[in-house]
Symmetry: D3
Subunit: 210 residues, 6 copies
């Protein structure tokens, strides 16, 4: 009895709180977001399922031109990672599959090969190219903001999970930025030295305009 | 006269602002909060009392089983510290009093002994135990996230102020996490190797279920 | 055709998002702000003009006592810098112009001289004074939170752009803090050792009270 | 020819550098380390193998009492992650295997189940317990510094990769902190309310003293 | 027996480390320091005394013109706080004592009154002055980088502990920056509007030159 | 006399320091660097010239294929910005000059047009292109890590200063990464969909191999 009081008297000191910024800040997609992430769901409404993401158990659809798929669980999809500085995506690479050259503007990436062989690489600011063919269980890290890619290097489907040092790493795919956008062809030519014919050809494929 | 204009002409440049994120962000508990803390109260509504917390001048209630009390002034209680990366709590330790083993998930702690003698310690990741009996005026720092405790080591009431490297350090008391929760006894046993009888005994004392 | 599907099947994975915290967080001045900055404008409403600030093309009004003007483009004026950790201001210094001793509580400053000669300096915590007369094209950096100043050191108008390591650096002008406020004269005297007559004289000039 | 000059004249501006803090800071274990991590290896000595970790392709040894193994690739083992705010470990859980209750003082954790079923859970500061049985491909996030565990919940070996929001997350295993250390039995009893007999029994098992 | 192996087989995985950046980074004053703090002492050389500071148990010498003393335990004096984002100082204020107007360029400050009455205040960027007379046990927070002061407001010696949101907050005392330095009198006059006579008078008192 | 003691007795408390991490950390290029930047030069050896960079007063050499030059003052060139989270570069754009498409992996960029007209743009992760022709005095911000460019849009030489939210922003020029490196032509083709002929043509121009 005295014990109950005891516990109360400590604990009450810690519970006379407003909806507090506690151990986590599960995303509330209905409230405003800011530079640090989404607003926090009221703790009373948080359940374990906010911390669990079940979308990555199945292969993404790789019946496409790149024979690959990227399935993200960033803060926009996975409310539990909001504000925690980490997120994840699933990579599926069918035989011949490629994740085209891309960057994550706001995060470093760590890749774990779960199935198959993957050839991966990145280019540093000094234009050094770092390339490696990775086996099942190998890990590779890609420093923040640098151009990198992954290619299936085996005869079987490749599977990898990539995690990021941010809940919102972003993803800028080079070809989409140039050829799936309305980036004017002449400006692309002037700023990349690519031939206009090449640019127009790829815009035709990827659906870019301008 | 010309002077007045002068001052205006500089100052106006700096005052054509929206409710600005200025030097501080006093917590507005009525608006959404995010990973970085609470929303900011409109500067016009801020008063000096937002920066002053008067709740810690009196002893917490130590007539309880642990003969101790923790009185926090974190961002949920003290609006002025919101976003400033610092907060404080008062520790009262009656003779024989104990602050049980606990962690602060999001902050390092700095303890200042104001009255009495306090035996304090923490355990590092390599399982080294750092123990010290502290005198009045002594300072001890507890690195972020590590298990630590404080015990009254004198015959008189002990008083300390603990400050944190976060406005929202959190507080996870080991016994409460295990025995004042609905953590299933079998799972506790499997993940701590404690005997079920021991677990049930402490759940009985602290009011845990499962 | 197959291509179109292809692109969709990748891209859709990345677009089933809520209004996402993406590459940037353009300030929405109508929503709450927090310690990390303003809420983000919905991406669909963002335009290039949110990232462009055109107010600094013309000289500020220097027909004032200090013969100088500071024109800020901080997050409160320039929505595109919200959350990006950078901002800018234009300094105009007529002949004889002075930017009085001041600090930026939350940022380091980098000054670029665009026209004229500017004598600049700062004082470090150990009371060392760092002074330099800067020519057109020279750069000087002022570490965070330290007292510093700029003075026109040529016969012609001086122009500089100063950038900051924060979207909201703040600006505390020493004379305004002391003499353009309601800081009681006696308290100023006690905490600065300045003579009351000196304090009252400058309050008269700058419009302070108390 | 003119071209070559051209390229040089741009590039030289960017290469008159000292051993620069560039895109990454591969750990040099022979130089001093600091709060932000290890010193950087000279860029000229960096190879792709600094960014690749091959130690996690094989199962850890689970022929032990917990029928489990944790194989870390933190900055102390994996030089390429130094300073990048991310790291990884492999979890092997034989049937009946358990990763005992533990915390990571400096990081949030994201778990990806690669094989088998895993029951995982964490306890929040308010003593709420979040439990879930995870299937192959499921993701769970554990907020920074909170007590959590993983248990094999299937009849087959479980495999998971856990990544962290720090290159140096730390790992404090509760039982090791209490019972594999020289934490005096009486102090453990006073700060956890565990019976001395229980403490001594587990110290006997785990090799603790005091 | 089997158990011992068991424990070893887990633990060894975590101990095949180089001198690791672990839970803390106790300052090694003999090695280089960097922007994040001092280099780390080898874990094997760390003792509990690195985390305990005993210098603040006695009053600082207040037999001086300001009848006050500031006794810091920053990372340069207290090796255990290096890299932990927190530090502390003791303030002694004899009757009539004053801590002159000053700033901490790199940290917010939290003051706890332990004895006596203290009148404290700070000035915000918008020149609002926030003043309060604090009683024993009251807390006041001073946002980063803003001018603030403390004055004994009682008839008895005042004692306070101030903690900071940085291991290295810095301390810039306004009068020392202006009048205990070699800041040229003419430049001070031009950038503060103070009369040359006033400046020279205070330089005479505080020992400034120029 | 008493005064002198007075000052000493305060100040001494603040000066019994080791080479302290004070207000700044001027780069010492002879000591190891780490993730947070270079080691700090001993305060006694720091001079005002460490905080001043005079290299940007003159135009870079634009007699090259892109008719442009980038002159950086990053921490590797400008020791005073080390650890301060800001740096700068000068852009010279002769008529017809172009800064090719590039990213800064670790920083946001703020551009100030000082002379001429500049057409600038960036592409966001959702492939939206933000384009603007900037006049003298206009400011544009480029969020971290996104592809962007600048082109002279007037008949006269263009001059701009760009500042960054990091002392070490990095610079990855797309064409150099692809065509001035040893990135194998086949891998570029597979990861960009560019025709091999196009790749080889540009490698011929820029000096790439593979």
């Amino acid at each position: 009895m005295k014990m109950i009081l005891a516990v109360f008297s400590i604990f009450s000191l810690l519970s006379l709180c407003h909806a507090s910024v506690v151990d986590f800040c599960v995303a509330d997609y209905t409230a405003p977001n800011g530079p640090a992430g989404y607003s926090c769901k009221k703790p009373a409404k948080v359940t374990v399922d906010d911390f669990v993401y079940t979308g990555l158990g199945v292969s993404g659809n790789t019946s496409n031109i790149i024979k690959a798929a990227v399935s993200p669980a960033f803060d926009a999809q996975f409310p539990g990672v909001n504000g925690l500085g980490i997120s994840v995506a699933r990579l599926d690479l069918a035989p011949g599959g490629v994740i085209p050259l891309h960057t994550h503007p706001g995060a470093s990436e760590l890749l774990v090969v779960v199935q198959g062989k993957i050839c991966a690489g990145f280019v540093a600011s000094d234009n050094t190219v770092y390339l490696k063919t990775l086996q099942k269980g190998d890990i590779m890290v890609f420093p923040q903001g640098l151009l990198h890619f992954q290619i299936n290097a085996g005869g079987i489907p490749g599977l990898a999970f990539v995690t990021f040092s941010s809940a919102n790493p972003g993803l800028q795919i080079l070809d989409f930025a140039l050829f799936k956008s309305d980036f004017p062809t002449q400006l692309i030519a002037e700023t990349t030295f690519l031939d206009a014919a090449q640019i127009k050809k790829l815009k035709g494929v990827l659906g870019g305009s301008g």
